[in-house]
Amino acid sequence: MSAASPMALRIEPGRIIAWLLLFGGGLLMVTPLAFMFATSLKDSSEIYDLAFFPAHPTLSNYVTVLSDGRFLRWFANSFGIAVAVTLSNVFFDSLVGYTLAKFQFRGRYLVFIAILSTLMIPTEMLVIPWYVMAKNFGWLDSYWGIMFPGMMTAFGTFLMKQFFETVPNDFLEAARIDGLNEFAIFWRIALPLVTPALSALAIFTFLSNWTAFIWPLIVTTSKELYTLPVGLTSFAVESQVQWELIMTGAALATLPTLTVFLLLQRYIVRGVVLAGLKG
């Protein structure tokens, strides 16, 4: 990507309107976040003033939250679960997506439709069957119980299938002639060619698991197994709600999100696939 040319910087009325709209939209989204950060820097006495800027900014809330063993435990739970589920999705969704995209076999279309149709079922409807399943398998109140419904997703499989379809067969056939076995072709040739899709899937899966609330709430009973969103909410229902601490916890909870995005976003932008082909 080259830098924008001077021509592109010319100011047009349409452009100004677009900027204003984007700015307004951005403000709408950033304000609650900014308010959350601002609140995390306030003293408990200021909480109900609802002023934006803290009168006496302090990091003491952070000290309190970070020295609370429960918070760290929940943070670690959420992190571990999100990472494990993400790795599982990245591997299995792409394996299935690749198979559906690049192999001809009986019933392929049927399998694809079956996977696709589950996209149309909202999570809320699945919670009860999941619960029954978890109960019968003895997975209630366990890490595996929290993770199992998300280990593979129809969305991820669908996404990866679509991307693998754009990988030219020539690459795979060249590898076949070079003597790679089918798994090596998937792992060493096809997968690196869809890193943009993998990164998108990884970010997406990580975020949705990091912020997941309903299912972890339902499936866990012991506080040690809570994920961060469930834990923070449990703070809020305690007799004396300490909003400044909840806001601090929430602020800390955005850190992994930011990190993951910053780490992976460059792979999303990079269009790798076409570089080895003509032109």
Partner: protein, 358 residues
């Protein structure tokens, strides 16, 4: 011996048969070029040899070994694709090294072979580059390097030069030819380009509709095309084809073509009444005033194409244009009437119904 033998090779896609029983013997070290119109089954045949496409009938033998049931990697062949298909996430060295994926070599030996290959192909300074930072010709060379490094029994090329511009194409053509002379390996090469076919091939295989029309050395095909298709495909510019009639009187065959009546030499079999006459532009010359020839055609000059060494002249004749040649120094002018002439030896006869040579 690393020859390739095809016997009754058949390919079907569902109910449609696209290759109808091909028989061909390719000698060890031979350079064979497949040509033919789009969709005639060239790639399909090549891919069956490579093992990328299942065989629905017949057998393929490579180096005296039936390979029908063997995986591509067990056939000891290498293939170069039209799109190069070099892996974009690997450097040039890694790409070439991938050709040695199954070879049980130690690291140093692998490196030595990669460097040796890169040296032959002039890729040494580029070994650490990624494909995205290479030109089209360099990419194609990497693809060839990946095929070469393994020292396979045979190379298969599917239109490897068609994405290159004319100049680069000519250069790579030369390089492939030199590579063949140097390595002496069997090569099967698919192309649309008759110049590539003529210049590279030991033998050309002309295919059409999933069948082999003719097999022969380039000059053999040029001199004795088996049918109109081959006649028009081989040789540039394309041969003129004109409809004509034959008649027999007193046991002597005559050809009637655009007002000419030409006595034909005696031939063992009778001629059909309707024929097509082929004459190459190089052998159909613009006549000087008063000059005569066995066949004389007249018409108005439509376009003049000077090429330096000679000049081609498009002349209106009947409903179409025919192409003739004129001396480079004294070409005729557009709009003038000219007379074109060819000797009887330059005329090739084809059956108008079957388009087969007579």
């Amino acid at each position: 011996m690393a020859g390739i033998e095809l016997q009754g090779l058949v390919k079907r896609y569902g109910k449609t048969q696209v290759v109808h029983g091909i028989d061909l013997t390719i000698e060890d070290g031979e350079f064979v070029v497949f040509v033919g119109p789009s969709g005639c089954g060239k790639s399909t045949t090549l891919r069956m040899i490579a093992g990328l496409e299942e065989i629905d009938g017949g057998t393929i033998t490579i180096a005296d070994r039936p390979v029908n049931r063997l995986e591509p990697k067990e056939r000891n062949i290498a293939m170069v694709f039209q799109n190069y298909a070099i892996y974009p996430h690997m450097s040039v060295a890694e790409n070439i090294g991938f050709g040695l994926y199954t070879a049980k070599l130690d690291k140093a030996e692998k490196r030595r072979r990669i460097e040796e290959t890169a040296r032959i192909l002039g890729l040494e300074p580029l070994l650490e580059r990624k494909p995205s930072a290479l030109s089209g010709g360099q990419r194609q060379r990497v693809a060839i390097g990946r095929a070469m490094v393994r020292d396979p029994a045979a190379f298969l090329f599917d239109e490897p030069l068609s994405n290159l511009d004319a100049q680069l194409r000519a250069q790579m053509r030369l390089e492939i030819k030199r590579l063949h002379q140097r390595l002496g390996r069997t090569i099967v090469f698919v192309t649309h380009d008759q110049v590539e076919a003529m210049t590279l091939a030991d033998r050309i295989v002309v295919m059409r509709d999933g069948r082999i029309l003719q097999v022969g050395a380039p000059m053999e095909l040029y001199e004795k095309p088996a049918d109109v298709f081959t006649a028009r495909f081989i040789g540039s510019p394309t041969m003129n084809i004109l409809p004509a009639k034959t008649s027999t009187a007193d046991g002597k065959a005559k050809l009637e073509l655009a007002g000419n009546t030409i006595a034909l030499p005696p031939r063992p079999t009778a001629l059909p009444a309707e024929v097509l006459v082929g004459v190459r532009p190089q052998e159909l010359r613009v006549l000087a005033p008063g000059e005569t020839a066995d066949l004389v055609l007249t018409g108005k000059v439509a376009v003049v194409e000077p090429l330096g060494s000679e000049t081609f002249v498009h002349v209106e004749h009947g409903d179409g244009l025919i192409l003739a040649s004129a001396p480079a120094k004294a070409p005729p002018f557009v709009g003038h009437d000219v007379r074109l002439g060819a000797g009887i030896d330059a005329l090739r006869l084809f059956d108008a119904a079957t388009e087969r040579a007579l």
